[in-house]
Amino acid sequence: MIRLERATKLVRMKGVSKVIINDVSFVIPRGRSIGLLGRNGAGKSTLLQIIAGTLSLDSGKVIREGKISWPLGFQGSFQGNLSGEQNVRFVARIYGVDTEELVDYVADFAELGAFYKAPVRTYSSGMKARLAFGVSMGVKFDYYLVDEITAVGDTNFKRKSQHVFKERLTDSDVIMVSHSATTLRDYCETGMVLEEGKLAYYDNIEDAIAVHERNMKRQ
């Protein structure tokens, strides 16, 4: 379970401040996968970082029960000077999972070949995304926070990663940010829409998508 209690967050960038969430109280129960929708710049990624715990709130609090992943995004959370393998070892150590097992799992999954032992800064964005997806699937979490990272690689890789991810979702949940309605329908049953600092919850993902599309037309 993840609970937000009267959570407020402002982001300040070069003197301009923007409300991400304004006095939001919210419970995300276990056993439901949630799609998070909102327009560009509404603060979806920021909200994921708040849930993960890398950003702190201005007021209110977040109560977390269960193991929550870091936000999985395209830009990745990798140290450029370290090789892919060293980055995987680092993740294994900080989450206390078997190092060699995870290294082998990701080597097999991400299909990086010789690049696995090369510094991550030499990777293409697709390779980084494959590494990110592989390492997160190798660690078991109760909640996966996914920021637009489901569709990476060629058709074969996509099929494989979808299969693995679906398997994970049998006993884990996901909070997913995506602009693709098809992807959201595929993975999530319920939805949230973030608009102007307010977070609205919908039991059915279709309702959330409909509201989001209406918002977009309204500009």
Partner: protein
Amino acid sequence: MYYFLVHLRVLSALVIRETSTRFGTNPGGYIWAFLDPLAHIAFLSVIFMAIAHAPALGTSFPLFFATGYIGFQFYQGMAGYLNGAVASNRSLLSYPNVAPIDTILARYILQFGTTAVVGFCVFALIGLSLRSSITIQWPFLIEAAFAGSLLALGSGLANNVLFIKYPLYEKFYGIVTRPLFMVSGIFFLPDALPHPAREVVLLNPLVHVVMLFRQGFYPEYRAIGFDAGYLYSVAFSLLFGGLLIFTSSRSILRGR
């Protein structure tokens, strides 16, 4: 208890991560950690042997400069390395487990260990080359190492925030701290300076660190003017101020 275990896990992971990139892609890697002090000590020894008959303490030039250099290095090496701790681990801070302070502590541990091992090897080398044996009083050395590295820890905590917030300060800091090597009593003894100069030099806390370190090697050295109270007042004020700035700037350190 659980949080403590997570911290330990993250800390050890960061130490391993830093060890693998400490000397970057330089060929030779850790050899440089040894070559750098050896070159400095050799260089100073050659110059001073040409202009003086005997060092200010004892009879060995290399030992005199090594005691100054290694004592100073517990501050200098540490300060330089800590200043980039958060910036060079920025991407790893996207893991919620990893806190900014962990990157500082990991570098502190690694750098302290490195200087200690390098110092041990340098003194072993010099000791073997001397005819008379060196008597070492460990409490002085250990205390000086901690005092010097605490000074660096305090300033490092503050600098990690201030360098991001005020880029101009970083330039200023670089200019002001560059002559520290010259004024920290590495190749002279403050005891021997005339009246007004000595008081001015003793305002530099690093002079006290080096004096403390030298007492561990020269039992006859009286270290006139050494003031432990002053040294620790500065060290703990810096540490307190640094911690205050560091802990109140969490969002800056995480890159927001």
